[in-house]
């Protein structure tokens, strides 16, 4: 009896890890292949192999020295960072009102915010283009910051509102009795308690802004104002008939690495922040 039981356990264990391996391979393979390609050069690009055969950093040098790519990288960093800061600032203040201030039409407003986020980008593209032209920010980073903030806010506001609603009311009331204004309550009492939510939503907003393509393509017109995803798509080879796969892959890796690093830094914060609550017994 004991032996069959162990055998069954072993089979279950094996099947479980086969499944895990399968999922990991399927989800990681595209990235792995991109990295692999980025280290190849010349005609090696067109040979299919699954293990590193040659190693060269030529593609990386090419990309970083070619025209406006470094500039595009800085654009992306600027646009994504400002979007995150702006979106978090607006979302924190908005969610404080939505979670804690009683006013007429609060539920309707929350539903509208959620409804707005359902529209596909394509549907609002034309309208947004008009707004951006009217504001006179076409072909500047502000056009992207403006449109990304609009598209990030519904999600950010919803997450932060839910989170803020769960913070104990007594803490806020204690702060009111202590003489804190709403601004002091938000910045000195609530924000330290909301780090996990802020980091999570901020990170997602950053990734969204960093990878966005359609708006970035539409609202910018020349190389100096483009962000990285568009720049990568428009990378051209030495002739019209050559697609510079090596450079594209190298650029993609350069673009992805900062995101991976950000997630790795902050994921520890997310976990440690969640346990810092502790109000009652």
């Amino acid at each position: 009896m004991g032996a069959t039981f162990n055998l069954w356990k072993l089979i279950k264990w094996t099947l479980f890890y086969i499944l895990v391996t399968f999922i990991v391979v399927v989800s990681v393979f595209p990235f792995y292949y991109a990295i692999l390609t980025s280290f190849k050069s010349g005609t090696a690009l067109f040979q299919i192999n699954y293990w590193p055969t040659s190693f060269s950093l030529d593609n990386y040098f090419n990309v970083l020295n070619s025209g406006s790519f470094p500039r595009n990288l800085l654009n992306s960093i600027f646009v994504a960072s400002v979007t995150v800061i702006l979106a978090l600032f607006l979302a924190i203040t908005a969610s404080f009102a939505l979670a804690r201030v009683r006013f007429r039409g609060r539920g309707l407003l929350l539903l509208t915010i959620l409804g707005v986020s359902m529209f596909p980008q394509m549907a609002v593209l034309a309208g947004l283009f008009e707004v951006i032209r009217a504001l006179g920010i076409y072909n500047t980073p502000w056009a992207l910051i403006f449109s990304y903030t609009i598209f990030t806010l519904p999600f950010t506001v919803w997450v932060l509102t839910t989170f803020m609603r769960d913070l104990p009311v007594e803490i806020e009331e204690a702060a009111i009795v202590d003489g804190a204004t709403p601004w002091v309550i938000i910045t000195r009492v609530f924000m330290p308690l909301m780090w996990p939510a802020l980091v999570t939503t901020g990170l997602l907003a950053f990734i969204g802004a960093w990878n966005e393509f359609l708006f970035a393509l539409t609202f910018t017109a020349n190389n100096d104002t483009r962000t990285v995803p568009v720049a990568i798509a428009l990378l051209s080879g030495s002739t019209q008939y050559e697609i510079p796969w090596g450079n594209i892959m190298a650029a993609s890796v350069i673009v992805t690495v900062p995101l991976v690093i950000l997630v790795l830094i902050f994921q520890r914060k997310i976990v440690s922040g969640l346990t810092a609550g502790g109000v009652k017994g």
């Binding site: 104990p168 007594e170 803490i171 009331e173 204690a174 702060a175 009111i176 009795v177 202590d178 003489g179 804190a180 002091v184 009492v189 330290p192 308690l193 810092a276 609550g277 502790g278 109000v279 009652k280 017994g281």
Partner: protein
């Protein structure tokens, strides 16, 4: 250092009237306890005094000055919450100093002295560098009280501060609060509880609330000896006062006769007869539950450990001078 006056204060939440016209005066330096069953509005009344809720109509005066629209922090109050409500990300010191740092004109050194003085009063000085999560429930509640003391308030508000503590800690903290009241005898204290033992032991005066209205205000002994209604009579005192209706009450010329368990004697020639349902033995005293054909069993309190077999028939008599007589409307006949 403030007297508080409420004049016909009302509070409604939407269509629901919670406080239905309360007139009340809390004297300077007094320890006033609001007591009543859940939903009677006692916490709401405290929150109205604190300013966390606005009053719907009526007037609220601190030292004769109207404070209806004054923000909580401008009223000179400090509040201790049931759930402690400490700032989880701040150390005990920062928690206690937070209010003072927000007020302008306090030097760092002054703040430190005030926090340390309050910490010494409550013996929490060794915890000043810790975070709330590193403290036990009792310690947290003392920090919350310390935070209130540091602000040097004129009025101290307690909202059921002991109900999250276990029984032993509750008694210890109760004594601590009583000591605090002696030391800070200039400070007016208002204390909300549903525990009538806390009310009896702490209060200078008790305000019994029922359904958004003041039922009776008086010293603990006044409420115990001369309740103004059947409700107060039943609410104050443990075990609960026995109410006897029917023929037995009519003989005394009232609709309901109230008699406390400690004011009844078991005698061979007792007036009433009842069957023992159950005996509770508490060591120092015992409660004997008798079935006398009333709606609820009648409780007789006896000194020492006494046990009666269930089913035993006993004869009891009330002490005539301790009888409370109530008319059909529940008002006392005196």
């Amino acid at each position: 250092m403030a007297s508080i006056e409420l004049r016909n204060v009302r509070k409604s939440f939407g269509m629901v009237d919670v406080i239905k016209g309360v007139d009340l005066e809390v004297r300077k330096g007094e320890f006033m306890v609001f007591v009543g069953p859940s939903g009677c509005g006692k916490s709401t009344l405290l929150r109205l005094i604190s300013g966390l809720e606005d009053i719907t109509s009526g007037d609220m005066l601190f030292d004769g000055k109207l404070v209806n629209a004054l923000a909580p922090s401008k009223r000179g109050i400090a509040m201790v919450f049931q759930s402690y409500a400490l700032y989880p990300h701040m150390t005990v010191y920062e928690n206690m100093a937070f209010g003072l740092t927000l007020e302008k004109g306090h030097a760092k050194e002054e703040i430190r002295q005030r926090v340390e003085k309050a910490a010494d009063m409550l013996q929490i000085r060794q915890y000043l560098d810790r975070l709330p999560k590193q403290l036990s429930g009792g310690q947290r509640q003392r920090v919350a009280i310390g935070r209130a003391i540091t602000r040097d308030p004129k009025v101290f508000l307690f909202d059921e501060p002991l109900s999250n503590l276990d029984a032993a800690l509750r008694v210890a903290t109760r004594i601590e609060i009583a000591k605090l009241h002696e030391e800070m005898n200039q400070v007016t204290m208002i204390y909300v509880t549903h525990d009538q033992v806390e009310a009896m032991t702490l209060a200078d005066r008790i305000c019994v609330l029922r359904d958004g209205l003041v039922e009776q205000v008086g010293t603990p002994m006044e409420l115990y000896e001369r309740p103004d209604s059947i409700f107060v009579a039943g609410f104050i005192g443990s075990p609960k006062m026995n109410f006897i209706a029917g023929d037995k009450a009519e003989k005394y010329g009232c609709a309901t006769l109230g008699i406390r368990g400690e004011h009844m004697d078991i005698k061979n020639d007792g007036l009433w007869e009842g069957t023992v349902i159950h005996t509770e033995n508490l060591g120092a005293d015992s409660y004997v539950y008798l079935d006398m054909g009333q709606e609820e069993p009648v409780v007789v309190r006896l000194d020492g450990a006494v046990t009666y077999q269930s089913g035993t028939v006993l004869k009891v008599s009330p002490q005539d001078e301790r009888i409370h007589r109530f008319d059909a409307a529940g008002k006392p006949i005196r």
